[in-house]
Amino acid sequence: MIFKKATIPLIIVFVMGVLGFATQYVPHPASATVTEEITSWFKVIGGFGLFIGAYSLIHMHLTRIKRRMEGWGYSMFTFIGAAFMIFVGLYNGGDGPLREASSQEQVTQKMMFDWGYQYVFVPCTATIFSILAFFMASAAFRTFRARNLAAGLLLVAALIVMLGRVPVSEWFSLQVFGDKGVFDTATDFIMEGPNLAAKRGITLGISLGAISQALRILFGIERSYMGGD
């Protein structure tokens, strides 16, 4: 039982991991064939992942509706919206029930599915992200205080970059320094100097950590992905 539940998955992970690793470095044409086969299987598994995600979403929202949890009405809207888009997406090739089956000439006309996407989905998602601007402005106002040297340096760098990334900084720069490129130059220096150095260090650290974690998973030392008993 332990062999089936614990050892077989470990063997599969090790073999597939080494195979995927080896195909990156082996120049033989068979390696390219193996890579293509693996990526095809990856697409199939990705498709199954969609069903699992859909089931999980339906289960979560159904539970909220059944138990009348806070915000259960929004779960109803989730189902209504999903049902509408699935229905118009499948019916009549996306045309929906209000038109006859689409002919070749009608392909270029706006379909109900496109209508739902362009006039409901796009404005809603864009609005949600746009709200972030207000919260970021409020957070920036509260956070950027020069309480110590490090905070002061951060404040100065942030102010220079915020001004340098908008065209009006050229006008400011001309009035104050007599040269319109001062803020741009200062912004470029901050981004290509201290920012680049810090990002490089952080990225190297993350990459080394990711390599270490990948090796732990390949050799079966890290088994959290298998779940627990």
């Binding site: 990156q24 390219a32 890579t35 293509e36 693996i38 990526t39 095809s40 990856f42 697409k43 990705g46 498709g47 992942g49 599915f113 496109d114 996407y117 362009q118 989905f121 796009v122 998602t125 864009a126 949600i128 992200f129 746009s130 601007a133 207000f134 402005a137 409020s138 920036a140 106002f141 950027f144 205080r145 020069a146 309480r147 404040l155 942030a158 102010l159 915020m162 001004l163 990334r165 908008v166 065209p167 009006v168 050229e170 319109k180 490129g181 741009d184 470029d188 981004m191 290509e192 920012n195 680049l196 990002k199 490089r200 990225t203």
Partner: protein, 295 residues
């Protein structure tokens, strides 16, 4: 006034300040958008690099546009794709569009239709799908998809979004893998650019540039020259505005476009934020000195 009353007073004041900032941001966005002041800016040198890379492509060259964002990031990236596509159509470059996001498909169709209309209006270019451009669409797989395209592009996408076979498609003549691309550009709202660098350009040797949201932009500087993994990039709405400026200058026309339309609002919000932050710091420092003097 006891401690809890002081605390609730402070919380009420913080709430009022937050609401005032929200109103100021709204005014800073709306008023310049209505007044439309002319605020041309000098393009950034990384935007110039991207522009030069596309501008020096010969007619018939192939450029892959990886459309890796959803409508939530469309405000910054849609104008970017639009202007780059227009540039491709102007130069006779064949854009090959694909995406890692299912929610991007309709947006892709929309931006291609809009860019094609603009290209016809400005330069009389009548572009046809399958011949002058191709929308490959979406396939799952992220890194594996890039590796798959690098080995066999037409195997990874056997049909385009409109169900045309890619095998003998005129738009993909001579392009069998990513190695055959003349240029690729990743329009990213998340970490897909790093994926394209690691599994795409580094592995298969094609030149790569990127267009990202302003939030992502600082992360990409490590890949620019001297590292050279990215040849150039466009950062946020300003990057798109810089590209529009360069394209309009090449045509000797007044600078226009949706990105430049948004620059006055962006400028106003940034300046307003800078003034608020400076004001808050001056007040904090004054409060500290006043406190010390009392003691």
């Amino acid at each position: 006034m006891n401690a809890s009353q002081t605390q609730s007073k402070k919380l009420r004041q913080a709430g009022i300040v937050r609401r005032v900032i929200f109103v100021l941001v709204a005014v800073a966005v709306i008023v310049p958008y209505i007044l439309k002041p002319n605020l041309p800016g000098e393009p950034n040198h990384w935007a110039e690099e991207v522009y030069k890379r596309v501008d020096t492509l010969k007619p018939g060259s192939h450029m892959m546009l990886a459309f890796n964002f959803e409508p939530s990031s469309g405000a910054e990236l849609y104008p970017m794709v639009r202007v780059v596509l227009m540039h491709c159509f102007k130069k006779g470059v064949v854009p090959v569009l694909m995406t890692h996001y299912t929610n991007a498909l309709n947006l892709m169709k929309q931006v291609v239709a809009e860019s094609a209309t603009q290209a016809k209006k400005k330069w009389g270019k009548d572009v046809q799908p399958g011949k002058d451009y191709v929308i490959l669409g979406y396939r799952p797989g992220d890194e594996m998809l890039i590796v798959n395209m690098g080995e066999n592009l037409k195997g990874a996408f056997d049909k385009d979004l409109d169900n045309r076979l890619t095998q003998n498609m005129p738009a993909l003549k001579g392009v069998n893998s990513l190695r055959d691309l003349d240029l690729a550009m990743d329009f990213a709202s998340s970490g897909t650019t790093q994926m394209w660098i690691a599994y795409g350009s580094d592995k298969f040797g094609f030149p790569l540039v990127a267009g990202t949201t302003a939030v992502q932009a600082p992360d990409l500087y490590i890949y620019l020259p001297p590292s050279g993994q990215l040849k150039g990039f466009l950062g946020g709405l300003r990057g798109a505005a810089d590209y529009e400026t360069l394209l309009c200058r090449s045509d000797n026309v007044a600078v226009e476009g949706p990105a430049n339309k948004g620059m006055p609002s962006q400028s106003a919000v940034h300046v307003m934020l800078v003034l608020l932050i400076l004001g808050a710091n001056v007040r904090m420092i004054y409060g500290k000195f006043a406190g010390k003097r009392k003691v």
